[in-house]
């Protein structure tokens, strides 16, 4: 997915001279085409994420669009105050892009797991949070990110993700995309873990359980209408995300349920537990340990709706 992001950004930057990339010495093998095409719009500040964000903000304050880009938590948590005070307070046109949302970097370990980012980024005023699930959404989200004027957090996958959608999508910030219609329950997911959700729905379909599947690619602003509709017109809502149980997609959806006085028959959050993930293994293996393989998700859905 990161390759698709970089390729799309490069294409957009050819037509938009406002776009600057500000890096903190991360991006090997991916960012070189941008560097070579636009040496006057490419900066590597060294391993210094606070400065990366401050510099990006200063560039953006002058009518440009700055992209900060790094892996996992480096461009978010390491420089959180720069994002809050500099970027968000000044409503600067800075786009914060991470590669490897969730546990994409698996065996690299806890330091490289981005598992609280959605909760933290969505708590910041003026910040938009997008989580594309596959290559089609990644392309569309990159265009939407540049078209949007203001701070935006883009949680990208890593590499080799299989597509969930069958073709280009109509991507609007704040407007969820229905992947499949269904009635017994609505599965709302964010990010590439959605492929396991689709496979889980396939398993359940064989048992006669009909699932609506919705890609909640924007966590902030959240698509209230999609949640209201799912609550009223299907048998309940289950959220699935590769993120800590606290404050992510599940948190955002449950807030809407409370605020709108909704009463879905079923509501469950499938997410990583509130632990520092110290298991050693690749992404799919770690997902499985926390019940987020296709089979694990199917099992949890079944248990939830049959209670």
């Amino acid at each position: 997915m990161r390759a698709v992001f970089n390729k799309t950004l490069l294409e957009i930057a050819k037509k938009d001279p406002r776009i600057h990339m500000v890096l903190a010495d991360i991006g090997y093998g991916e960012i070189e085409p941008f560097r070579d095409a636009f040496p006057d719009r490419y900066y590597n500040v060294g391993v210094a994420e606070q400065n990366m964000t401050g510099v990006a903000c200063g560039i953006a304050m002058e009518g440009n669009i700055s992209i900060t880009y790094s892996i996992a938590n480096f461009p978010t948590l390491r420089c959180l105050e720069q994002i809050r005070n500099d970027v968000c307070y000044h409503n600067a046109n800075v786009k914060i892009v991470i590669i490897g949302g969730g546990v994409s970097y698996g065996p690299l370990g806890m330091s490289h797991h981005s598992t609280e980012d959605i909760a933290i980024m969505r708590a910041l005023p003026n910040m938009v949070v997008v989580v594309p699930c596959d290559n089609y959404e990644a392309v569309a989200a990159t265009h939407a990110m540049i078209e949007y004027d203001g701070p935006l957090y883009y949680r990208c996958g890593y590499k080799g993700e299989k597509d969930i959608h069958s073709g280009p999508v109509d991507f609007k910030i704040g407007k969820a995309i229905t992947v499949r219609e269904g009635s017994d329950v609505t599965l709302m997911f964010a990010g590439p873990v959605g492929l396991n959700v689709v496979h889980a729905a396939d398993i359940l379909a064989k048992e006669g359980i009909s699932c609506r599947i919705v890609s909640m690619h924007t966590i902030k602003p959240i698509d209230k209408e999609a949640i209201i509709d799912a609550s009223k017109n299907t048998g309940g809502i289950i959220t699935i995300e590769e993120h800590n149980l606290s404050g992510g997609l599940g948190g955002a959806v449950s807030e809407v349920i409370c605020d709108e006085h909704l009463s879905p028959k079923v509501f469950k959050r499938i997410a990583l537990p509130d632990v520092n993930v110290a298991l050693i293994g690749h992404q799919e293996w770690i997902r499985d340990q926390f019940g987020m393989s296709a089979e694990g998700i199917a099992k949890q859905i079944k248990e939830a709706i049959q209670k």
Partner: protein, 269 residues
């Protein structure tokens, strides 16, 4: 320089009255940089009170945002904001918050937490270069600000980028929040440090208006390098009882002393 002297006095008096009225701190930080702020707004910065967003204006970023009242005073005296805003500083529903705010016309950037100003100023300097503008970017820092890792990240990168349109002024009064800098974080030979980091660095008396002007009006000091001006100042300069004290970081001048303190500043040659 007579106008600078007059403005510096007015900044000191306004800062004392504003902090007294708002019952707020940081008067020592305001008074230590008052002379430099006066020279900047009187003679150096290319800014226009009638058009505060003029595209090619010079950018002044106050990284020591806690001393913002001194800049508010300069902005009021130069016509960016009404003078009657000053006495709303730090007050409920006021126009001027305790730390400098970009919501105020003429203020480039909001700061308050230290270590934020210089990275942003570096970004502004890069943007000016990209826009092929000869506008200058001047950032005012402090002892505490020079403790922040992010400040040094920006110092390294500014040298790497050879940003000669960038100037860092350090209001080097050597007093910070919990003590004299020597006892907290001794920056030792700051000039040598900055030169080692690839900057052109000089030291001036931050209360000598002629020296300030000479230094500020000859930017950049060396082509191809960012300029650092280490201004030796006295915390709370102008109120002898509080000069060079840690408590001046927190105190405001109480009602019973204020007229006498202001009288002394007014009478000063």
């Amino acid at each position: 320089m007579e106008n600078c002297k007059k403005l510096a006095k007015q900044i000191r008096i306004d800062s004392i009255r504003m902090t007294n009225n708002g019952k707020s701190g940081h008067v020592g930080s305001m008074l230590s940089m008052a002379d430099m702020i006066a020279v900047l707004y009187e003679k150096i910065l290319n800014v226009d009170p009638k058009n505060p967003k003029m595209p090619d204006r010079d950018r002044f970023v106050l990284s020591k945002g806690h001393a913002g009242a001194a800049v508010y005073s300069a902005l009021a005296n130069k016509g960016f904001i009404p003078r009657d805003w000053l006495m709303t500083y730090y007050c409920d529903n006021g126009k001027l918050m305790g730390h400098i705010s970009h919501k105020v016309p003429g203020v480039e950037f909001s700061t308050g937490s230290l270590g934020h100003g210089l990275p942003v100023a570096v970004g502004m300097a890069i943007a000016a270069r990209y826009a092929k503008s000869d506008r200058r970017i001047i950032c005012m820092s402090s002892d505490g600000d020079m403790n922040e890792g992010s400040t040094w990240e920006a110092i390294m990168f500014a040298a790497q980028e050879k940003l000669s349109n960038l100037t860092l002024v350090i209001d080097y009064n050597q007093v910070q929040a919990l003590g004299h800098s020597e006892e907290v974080i001794d920056l030792r030979d700051l000039k040598a440090k900055l030169e080692n980091f690839g900057w052109s660095a000089c030291e001036i008396d931050g209360h000598n208006l002629d020296e300030i002007y000479a230094s500020f009006s000859s930017l950049p000091h060396k082509e191809g390098k960012p300029t650092a001006i280490i201004a030796h100042t006295i915390k709370c300069k102008g109120i002898p009882a509080l000069e060079d004290t840690v408590k001046s970081h927190y105190r405001f001048i109480p009602d019973e002393d204020i007229e006498q303190v202001i009288k002394k500043i007014e009478e000063e040659e």
